[in-house]
């Protein structure tokens, strides 16, 4: 049985959400793409740990200003990729807001979320160090990965991570509750 998994890609405008999604779903880039004819461009067959999956990905690019719509997308998603650009500190600073919204709408802290630092191919433009991404992910109870949609580095891995988290959660080994992390965060801010 192929299992369908709904993933939602969130993040600030311009961080490369569409590139991440399209480059995953389409392995090559020669074809001419038009959205109205691309009902399947947000679907991807994948074998993860020996299991077949159909990934359904909701790309929200372009509608960042429609903040009220996000609620609905989050409710429908099972796993989330919160994307920032490693070349934009501002996009990194907005990660937390997305994370909180996911927790609130899902009414749970243990929702599978992967924090994705994209655009690592732009080495010289980097504004967010890897360790800062790791620290934030830890604090927010997310998995963490850095990617490049352009060079396909960790592209599939980012999505597969989310699927594995969903599976782990089903199996009862849910991620550690964030409550502890929150306390930790307070300590840090005092220091």
């Amino acid at each position: 049985m192929v299992q369908t998994v709904k993933l939602v890609v969130l993040g600030d405008g311009g961080v490369g959400k569409t590139a991440l999604t399209l480059r995953l779903a389409l392995n090559y880039f020669g074809a001419s793409l038009a959205p109205s004819r691309c009902e399947d461009s947000y679907r991807k067959h994948a074998i993860i740990d020996g299991q077949p999956y159909m990934l359904e990905i909701l790309d929200t690019a372009g509608q960042e200003e429609y903040t009220a719509l996000r609620d609905q997308w989050i409710r429908e998603g099972e796993g989330f990729l919160i994307v920032y650009s490693t070349t934009s500190r501002a996009s990194f600073d907005r990660v937390e807001r997305f994370r909180h919204q996911v927790a609130r709408v899902k009414d749970s802290d243990s929702v599978p979320v992967v924090l994705v630092g994209n655009k690592i191919d732009r080495v010289h433009e980097r504004e967010v160090e890897t360790r800062h991404g790791e620290e934030l992910a830890k604090r927010l109870g997310c998995a963490f990965i850095e990617t490049s949609a352009k060079t396909r580095v960790n592209l599939e891995e980012a999505y597969f991570m989310a699927v594995r988290m969903i599976e782990a959660r089903k199996g009862g080994t849910a991620a550690k509750p964030v409550r502890q992390k929150t306390k930790k965060q307070r300590k840090c801010s005092i220091l």
Partner: protein, 450 residues
């Protein structure tokens, strides 16, 4: 576009003039055209005149209909010089016309660098006046569903005071749908092509500074999304503001009816906002409120869900809009997503079919972007409706005066207050993450900070 022996391909010209700024600069383009104008001296007179005419026409169309002062402003001086110099020598009357045109449309910009475009389409200015009760179109429009006492109750809003309305449900749902449509249609009709393309490809480049300038370059697109967000927030606030459960169910009914009327008006943009409010985590969790809803309204709600469904990349919604005949207001957000999709999903360049080592501009990408812009523009025509100024004032007041409409967390808290959780242990953890964010607030009714 400037060959002597072909017919002009209007679609190509349109796409080119809309999109060339994505693959070249205005100055480079102008320089090439000016060079071509002169190159022709070596050619026969037979070719010379048509090619020069076409170059002249291209500049004329550019200035007339596709001008974007930022970044096109860089060619103004060169253009005026060219007009007075080489163009005048070759084609005196053409030179006068272009110089007149340039003087009219470009010079006002030089003193006032607002970055807005001069090419406001005639349809948009028509749309602004079309709704006034005294306009010619008003006579054929359906008369507004309002009573004298309702108008009297709303009148204070005209002078910035609170209306005397005790509940929004006193307004007929159809009329509210119409007035919202008028409000949105005005903004929709003023969206410019360059705004859309700016929003579409701006996303591809990074940088926060870019982000700021982007919001200034896309004022009407922003206005549209802000209207949608505020409408969603307002509906949420109104429902949550009602303490009595029965009356809350009544409000739910009212807004479902509003959604249905919007669907009939083919105002999908507002329909998305209404549905988003009703389907939000804040409202949809109010189980007792929903339980009071008659089956008839439930099935209407499902109709609204289907009409806005994003399954299979909005397949159903897209088909409806494709077949729609104006007037109609499509959901603007999807145009933005589609533009990014095309920009990201198609390469900027492609190898030449004759010589694969040679890279050509992938013009197909820009054709597709222009087509999306064209699809939005297809609906830039006014509805046949008459505005009720009192209601417009009331709506603006309500939408601008949101207390919590922008703050989802505080709305959610209010939702918890009017219908507390059923007490599942799993739910308490999420609250911790919420309260951690605004722990500066003294209020902690649910002891979330535990």
């Amino acid at each position: 576009m400037t060959l002597h022996d072909t017919t002009i391909d209007a679609a190509f010209s349109n796409t080119f003039l809309l999109c060339f700024r994505m693959f070249t600069t205005p100055l480079d383009l102008a320089n090439l055209l000016w060079a071509r104008f002169d190159l022709l001296k070596q050619w026969t007179a037979q070719k010379l005149t048509p090619v020069r005419l076409r170059i002249f026409n291209l500049f004329k169309t550019w200035v007339e209909s596709y001008w974007q002062h930022h970044p096109d402003g860089e060619i103004v001086d060169g253009l005026l010089e060219w007009c007075a110099g080489r163009l005048k020598a070759a084609m005196p009357s053409a030179s006068t016309r272009l110089a007149d045109l340039a003087g009219k449309t470009l010079v006002p910009f030089s003193s006032l660098t607002t970055g807005s475009s001069s090419s406001s389409s005639s349809s948009s200015s028509a749309a602004i006046d079309a709704y006034s009760p005294s306009s010619a179109a008003a006579s054929s429009a359906p008369p507004p569903v309002v009573t004298k006492s309702l108008v009297a109750n709303l009148r204070p809003a005209l002078s910035g005071r609170r209306s005397l309305l005790s509940s929004v449900t006193e307004i007929d749902a159809l009329e509210l749908a119409r007035q919202l449509t008028i409000m949105e249609s005005r903004v929709y009709c003023s969206i410019r092509a360059d705004e859309l393309l700016g929003a579409g490809n701006g996303g591809a480049s990074s940088g926060s500074a870019k982000h700021v300038s982007e919001s200034m370059r896309t004022p009407n697109v922003r206005k549209m999304s802000s209207l949608s967000t505020r409408l969603t927030g307002w509906i949420t606030e109104v429902i949550l503001g009602e303490q009595d459960q029965k009356r809350r169910t009544g409000l739910l009914k009212y807004f479902i009816k509003l959604g249905e009327r919007l669907l009939h008006l083919a105002n999908y943009n507002a329909l998305f906002a209404v549905f988003t409010a009703l389907n939000s985590s804040t409202i949809s969790r109010l189980r007792k409120t929903w339980d009071g809803l008659a089956p008839k309204y439930r099935s209407t709600f499902e109709t609204l869900r289907k009409a806005t469904d994003h399954g299979r990349n909005y397949a159903e919604y897209r088909q409806k809009v494709r077949q729609a005949v104006p007037p109609c207001l499509p959901f603007v957000g999807l145009f933005l997503t589609d533009l990014i999709f095309v920009f990201e999903g198609n390469r900027a360049e492609r190898p030449s079919p004759a010589d694969s080592s040679l890279l050509l501009i992938n013009f197909d990408r820009y054709h597709k972007m222009a087509r999306i812009v064209g699809e939005l523009q297809r609906f830039q025509s006014p509805y046949s409706l008459v505005e009720v100024p009192e209601m417009q004032a009331y709506l603006s007041q309500e939408l601008e005066g949101l207390k919590r409409g922008q703050d989802a967390q505080s709305l959610y808290r209010q939702s918890l207050m009017i219908e507390p959780r059923q007490g599942g242990p799993a739910s308490s953890s999420a609250a911790s993450i919420i309260s951690s964010q605004d722990s500066h607030r003294p209020r902690d009714i649910f002891n979330w900070r535990g």
